[in-house]
């Protein structure tokens, strides 16, 4: 992607589908239509930014870390809060002390 890509991507149906995938969301057809319309209006509002030239502005000059006065020491600490955490895990195996999730690797499709 070139550095001159100040282009603004148009929000099409296909692009919204890509954004859903990136955001790990899914929209039904009705939501898709509704969101596309609303998002186009929101992106139109962002065109106001074209009014101002920011070529000489260092975008890092305001960051929350400007206000950081100290950081914690980089020391290893061990916490054992499995009991507390297990109380609100959706599925938890107390014997193995593991959170249960669906398979990450789909072994049925392996050759």
């Amino acid at each position: 992607m070139s550095s001159s890509s100040n282009c603004k991507l148009q929000l099409t149906h296909e692009h919204l589908k890509k954004l859903e995938k990136l955001a790990q969301l899914s929209l039904n057809d009705q939501e898709h239509q509704k969101y596309l319309k609303a998002l186009k209006e929101i992106l139109d509002m962002f065109d106001l930014l074209d009014r101002v030239n920011t070529d000489s502005v260092d975008h890092l000059s305001i960051q929350p870390t400007q206000s950081v006065s100290d950081l914690r020491c980089d020391t290893l600490e061990t916490t054992n809060n499995v009991d507390a955490l297990s109380k609100f895990c959706p599925e938890f195996n107390p014997q193995t002390q593991q959170i249960i999730v669906p398979p990450v690797i789909d072994q049925s499709s392996s050759s």
């Binding site: 962002f46 929350p64 959706p90």
Partner: protein, 489 residues
């Protein structure tokens, strides 16, 4: 008792005119009687509250209260983690989540002896300006229950306005303390970014979020802020600077202080009657000895677009943790790990949250990042410089809090842009990391109007001072809505 301010309650407790248990039970009874009208609470914890009140009474009986807040009831916005008490961020995603720890600023108030009555309603994940996106139903404005209380800290504002609790905590990312405080006729302050620890606060936009108190007047806000504020080693953005004794100089005169009126904020976008009410407040401040001059914030028109680029961008990152794996809502019978993520999030989040995640994902995506996110960060720098310039000329900025009074429930829910424009005067302070306060200025057609003060970095004391002095010569902060029995007790 619900007409009393915190300082008046503290005096009664110290003198033994009432006990914390009596005070706590009084407010618990009021919540049970009146909260069905406004839906300001999502969780009430009467047993825990009364235990805390008993402990406070024991401390009070020694004759030496450790804090002016000892035994005083409070409620917390439902995104502050409270150990053992549901903390939902008013989302289906966290509807059954009980944290194993307590947020730092809440713990500080607990240590001071405040009595938590419960958790208050809010827009889902703090995304909203009307408290209509809550999974637990909208909150209503006590001044007229057909109207919104403002958001996202709507429940916190409404509960104080209705006399269900003397003070609450709220959070402010783009105006979420100030807007509901203005709509509900109470006082609220968003401190300087980093003044109050964000540890234990469900994150929305980490470079903008800040917690603060909401109460009936500036003095009570000052009392609470002094306890909430302070460095926290668990929050790398919390400022390691001493917390002033905010109430110490509240009674000093205002002579010599200079107010700036941004010409961009007093344009025809502001309702003319509200403009008139605010100018009456300015006249009162002049009578108190302040001088007034016009200032300019030339990039302020860009606050809304850059806020709605940066905040959703940060939210899309912060809400990535909600994936149905370790906590929160998990969809039924996920077919695969991808299905788990996608359906848990699609089913667990509401519309506005999903919309902002999508916007945030878009502005951070390859091809859009330069045009949106990076540009917005640069403009944010310009806005900060605008304020630096202004504060070389004046001590505080006086501004409207909102372009109008509260609007009807449902009026803007299908028009996101119209909703976003409610924040037109509030986002600037968040973007510039500056403190800002709202207090009542009057009424328009039966609904409260608020004024806003914006101060320099760590100058909360100036804002509280000015608001307190104003509240010595006006009584808007002492007006109460009609249907909540303020005539009795």
């Amino acid at each position: 008792m619900h007409r009393l301010t915190i300082s008046e309650m503290a005096r009664m407790l110290k003198q033994g005119d009432c006990s914390s248990v009596e005070l706590t039970q009084h407010f618990l009874d009021r919540i049970e009687t009146y909260d069905t009208k406004i839906n300001s609470f999502v969780t009430v914890c009467p047993e825990q509250a009364l235990r805390a009140a008993e402990a406070a009474d024991q401390q009070l009986s020694t004759g030496s209260p450790t804090s002016p807040l000892l035994g005083i009831p409070i409620a917390h916005k439902d995104l502050f983690s409270t150990e053992g008490v549901l903390t939902t961020s008013c989302s289906k995603m966290l509807a059954n989540y009980t944290p194993p720890y307590t947020a730092t600023c809440v713990e500080k108030l607990n240590q001071a002896g405040m009595v938590m009555l419960g958790k208050t309603n809010m827009d889902e994940f703090a995304m909203g300006s009307s408290n209509e996106t809550s999974y637990f139903g909208p909150c209503c404005n006590p001044w007229n229950t057909e109207y919104v209380p403002g958001g996202s800290s709507g429940g916190s504002a409404a509960a104080v306005a209705a006399g269900l609790v003397p003070a609450t905590t709220g959070t402010d990312t783009g105006g979420s303390i100030r807007l509901p405080a203005a709509y509900c006729g109470i006082t609220g302050i968003k401190p300087t970014y980093g003044r109050v620890s964000r540890w234990g606060m469900t994150a929305f936009a980490s470079s903008l979020d800040q917690a603060g108190p909401m109460a009936q007047n500036a003095y009570d806000c000052a009392l609470i802020l002094e306890t909430m504020a302070g460095h926290d080693a668990q929050d790398a953005t919390s400022l390691n600077t001493p917390v002033p004794h905010y109430i110490k100089d509240l009674n000093q005169p205002l002579e010599g202080l200079r107010i700036g009126l941004p010409e961009e904020f007093f344009s025809d976008q502001l309702n003319p009657e509200i403009n008139q009410i605010l100018h009456q407040t300015i006249e009162t401040l002049k009578e108190l000895g302040m001088s007034v001059q016009s200032v300019t914030l030339p990039n302020s028109a860009l606050c809304i677009p850059i806020y709605y680029i940066l905040a959703p961008a940060e939210a899309s990152s912060n809400l990535a943790r909600f994936d149905g794996v370790r906590y929160g809502y998990r969809c039924k019978d996920p077919a695969s790990i991808e299905d788990l993520y996608i359906r848990s999030r699609a089913e667990g989040f509401g519309d506005e949250v999903k919309r902002r995640i999508i916007v945030g994902t878009h502005v951070l995506s390859s091809g859009a990042y330069n045009a949106y996110y990076q540009k917005a960060q640069k403009v944010r720098t310009l806005i900060k410089h605008d304020f630096d310039q202004v504060f070389s000329q004046v001590d505080v900025v006086f501004a409207p809090t909102a372009p109008s009074t509260a609007f009807k429930i449902g009026e803007k829910v299908d028009d996101p842009i119209s909703m976003y424009l409610c924040d037109i005067y509030t986002t600037a302070a968040n973007l510039a990391e500056l403190p800002a306060l709202t207090a009542p200025a009057g009424f328009h057609q039966g609904l409260p109007v608020g004024f806003q003060l914006i101060g320099g970095h760590l100058e909360e004391y100036k804002l509280l001072h000015i608001a307190h002095q104003l509240q010595q010569v006006t009584d808007f902060h002492q007006q109460h809505p009609a249907d909540f029995d303020f005539e009795e007790g």
